[in-house]
């Protein structure tokens, strides 16, 4: 895999809308009032701008996450943990058959810088793509006043467990995180911790549901606890996952409250395989050979369990590991 040396550069500003256009490697990015436009040497593509920005800021915030992040069926990124592919049509049968598919690899830092530059220019005050649609304004229309607050936030990664001394904090009212309107009907109490003399601070527990209910963003898993390389992430989900995720390893979902509808498709071709509806208490694996997109009619709480063992993606890609997690014969 060759890595393209590239740095994002502004190539112009539209006088009518106020938005700038950018070149990054062989790709160019521009937007109008309604759409983002992506072009590459062999083709071009249009994406509704709200979806494009919701996908882009999450892609940066996740550090490109695990595997494939499809902004839609055509455009997206693949994480190689140090380098990142930007692709257009590389996993879309129609684009491939038309011969217009394209893929270029860059350093992760360069892609982050490019996406942050574009996002910052294309997002105006009053619109936050990390919020649920009911909780923010719209990105359509001409450029407004640029936001000065951080576009990326709330991706919390505990080192051992949230709330431990020296580790990441749980969200609190005092820190400005109120209980979200969708969880206002729940009662939140705290676990009782009673330490014997000499063991103060050695026992620990939190109200994890309270922490999730105070999240002001959606579809943004953050790490709550780690057993070796086993990562427990929690997230609040409302409306639709603005990307289609194709993992490079098996991952697991545990539905903590409410329900999420998942559309499942073949990872390489995008051919639909069907759907899964997860309700509170349901557990389901997302195999490594699919792509999935979630839809949450009401804000819900989801737990995601990931195996963060370094190099796992290569063991799945080589076929050493099966693209599904459970051996039913054992």
């Amino acid at each position: 895999m060759s890595v393209t040396e590239a740095k994002v550069e502004k190539i112009g500003t539209d006088e009518a809308t106020g938005y700038s256009s950018y070149r990054f490697g062989s790709f160019t990015f521009s937007r109008d009032e309604y759409f983002a436009h992506v072009a590459w040497p062999k083709g071009s593509h249009i994406i509704e701008v709200d979806r494009f920005l919701r996908a882009m800021v999450r892609d940066i915030g996740w550090g490109f996450f695990y595997g494939w992040i499809f902004f839609d069926d055509v455009f997206g990124t693949t994480n190689h943990y140090g380098t990142v592919d930007i692709f257009a049509g590389a996993y879309d049968r129609g684009c491939k058959e038309a011969g217009i598919d394209f893929l270029e690899t860059y350093s992760a830092e360069a892609v982050s810088e490019a996406f942050e530059t574009i996002s910052k220019d294309w997002i105006s005050e009053g619109y936050d793509p990390l919020n649920a649609p009911l909780e923010t304004g719209s990105p359509i229309g001409p450029k407004g006043k640029e936001r000065t607050d951080p576009l990326l936030r709330s991706f919390i990664a505990a080192d051992r467990m949230l709330g431990l001394p020296g580790d990441k904090s749980v969200r609190t009212e005092a820190d400005g995180f109120g209980i979200n309107r969708a969880f206002a009907d729940l009662e939140f109490d705290q676990p009782e911790i009673e330490c014997e003399p000499g063991f103060e601070g050695q026992l620990h527990a939190i109200n994890l549901f309270d922490h999730i209910a105070r999240s002001d963003i959606t579809w943004n898993p953050s790490i709550s606890a780690i057993t070796r390389a086993n990562i427990c992430c929690v997230t609040s989900e409302e409306h639709m996952l603005p990307v289609i995720h194709g993992n490079d390893r098996n991952e697991w979902f545990i539905q903590l409250t409410d329900e999420i509808h998942w559309n499942i498709a073949d990872k390489n071709s995008g051919a639909p395989r069907g759907r899964i509806v997860m309700k509170a208490g349901d557990v389901c694996a997302m195999p490594a050979d699919i792509r999935h997109q979630g839809f949450a009619p009401k804000r819900s709480m989801l737990m995601v369990m990931e195996n963060g063992t370094p190099g796992l993606e290569q063991r799945y890609a080589s076929g050493e590991l099966k693209p599904y997690p459970v051996d039913f014969e054992s």
Partner: protein, 168 residues
Amino acid sequence: MAYKTRVGSLDNYEKGVIELDDDLRKYAFSNIFEVAGAAQPFERVAVVQNLEYTAEVVRSEGESGWYAAPHDEFAIVMDGEITFHFVKLEDGQVPSHDGGAIKLGAKPNGPNMGRVTARRGHQVLLPKGAAYQLVSGAPAVAVLQTVEGPETVKRWSEICVMGGEKVQ
């Protein structure tokens, strides 16, 4: 607008739907409350397996034995109330097997560290270097984040929705 949050419990849960043109075993679809309801008290039934890592469902009912692991584990209570009692292990008592919880023969001879009482939504650290016991006055359910070990029970064919079958 007032929202109604839906949670599950041993006595009241609604399972979802899996409709796929695929082998459903690849998705290992199960439900925590259904698994807990069918298990013996304190059986640790795997519902998640990520190579060596597992999440195990346990129905806490009465007093469990004492457990310890060579790494941190975490419990998330999903229904009812569980009190976790902790005893400090001496260095030589900390398990040295590959991973997962082992059941100790009896309460270890260490100092009591204290206890944590947790209810739905609470996450509890089960720290390396401590033995722990679960106690519940009424049936309760927890999910344990851990590593596959001697106490892990695997009955995938019994707990998962299998091919050609719909959940509802």
